[in-house]
């Protein structure tokens, strides 16, 4: 699973903060490319598999407000 965050809309610090918060539920690999900041999520906790992408994106968005 991969989520690509646009660089103009999401800050790298917010994404890093979210990775720190969700580290116990999955493995995260952060890559920056032309499209934006790509977060590859793998080895996801089965209980969180359905919601992790949405919750992760929401967490990043919440960090943007701070």
């Amino acid at each position: 699973m991969e989520i690509v965050f646009d660089k103009k809309l999401y800050k790298l610090e917010a994404i890093r903060s979210a990775i720190g918060a969700f580290a116990g539920l999955a493995d995260f690999v952060l890559k920056s490319n032309q499209r934006g900041i790509a977060v590859k999520i793998s080895n996801i906790d089965p209980e969180a598999a359905d919601i992790i992408d949405g919750e992760f994106a929401n967490y990043v968005l919440a960090q943007m407000k701070k």
């Binding site: 992408d53 949405g54 929401n58 968005l61 919440a62 407000k65």
Partner: protein
């Protein structure tokens, strides 16, 4: 972000600042999953995916409420910009008043209020009123 039902709306950044979008989005993160993407020059697309099994009608309500919240945030940001100078002036005045030396209020001994605090001379010393033990 394409699971179940979702709805995408486009917001013009010339009308609503990005700060307002973040603020309004924050209000809805407990009801829906939101994802922001660029949608051309000065436009942002926001995808809404409800958290629980909500129907299309409920999703429509969420996006409608989002636009109202967006308007609310944009208005507050404008108001905040307009009142910036007044706020700064009030803070400056408060800090200036707080920085005045407080010792002036006290008598020379520094132990309490001076004689000027009883201009009519009606205060009676404790010893005169109750006598000495």
């Amino acid at each position: 972000m394409d699971k179940k039902i979702s709805q995408k709306i486009t917001v013009d950044l010339k009308i609503y600042p990005l700060e307002a979008i973040y603020g309004a989005s924050y209000v809805f993160i407990d009801r829906a999953y939101l994802f922001l993407e660029p949608a051309g020059k000065n436009k942002v697309a926001i995808t809404f995916r409800p958290k629980e099994d909500a129907g299309a009608k409920e999703l429509e309500n969420i996006t409608g409420e989002f636009f109202n919240e967006l308007l609310n945030y944009a208005f507050r940001l404008n108001l905040s910009k307009e009142n910036k100078k007044i706020r700064q002036h009030i803070i400056e005045q408060a800090l200036f008043a707080a920085s005045e030396p407080a010792a002036e209020k006290f008598s020379d001994s520094g132990l309490g209020y001076g004689e000027d605090d009883d201009p009519l001379g009606i205060a009676i010393p404790w010893e005169e009123k109750y006598g000495q033990k």
